[in-house]
């Protein structure tokens, strides 16, 4: 029982915490890809607000095992982050 409780509280905290490059992934198997689905935001090199969520503080691209983005969307993400870097938007 104790373990179960802990797990739940971890999951709650996970949503509010800022993603980190070296964080442990507790709720990996529960999370869905935040960029797939019907009402997902479009990944674009002009959409800086979205892209900023997927880079670390030092400007590196976060791995998909941390952010649980699907492979298809991760490819799109990295391409558009690199485009934004070229234009000095990020």
């Amino acid at each position: 029982m104790k373990r179960k409780k802990n797990f739940r509280s971890n999951k709650k905290n996970f949503k509010h915490k800022k993603l980190n490059l070296f964080q442990k992934n507790d709720s990996k198997f529960n999370k869905k890809c935040p960029l797939s689905g019907k009402e997902a935001p479009a990944v674009n090199y002009k959409n800086i607000k979205l892209l900023k969520r997927y880079i670390s503080e030092s400007g590196r691209i976060l791995p998909s095992r941390v952010t649980s983005v699907s492979l298809k969307k991760q490819k799109e993400l990295s391409r558009s982050i690199k485009r934004a870097r070229l234009l000095a938007l990020l």
Binding site: Y45, I48, L87, A88
Partner: protein, 108 residues
Amino acid sequence: MNCYEHTLIIKQDKLENHSKTIINKYEDLINKNSGKVLKTEEWGLRNLAHLIKNNKKGFYFHIKFEGTGKTIEELEKAENIDQTLIRFLTVRVKKHDLEKEYFEKRES
């Protein structure tokens, strides 16, 4: 005909009126070379996220146009020589989104 998006950054030390003549020059160049300009967005003077050739700020312009490979060839040939530009980027898109604008022009 393919759809393209073109973004270019003009050096800050050029006056704003001057930057408009530059953008008009490239619009004409697209229209001449079997292309068609659909929309031009002006993002205004923005801070660059990092230094590029010792520039801190730049005027951003965004052109959405239709054209062929030859249009881009001519466009980039002219831009490579141009000293007033900091950088440019051409991206091919499947479909143009003419309504949504991610950047608003800031008065500064």
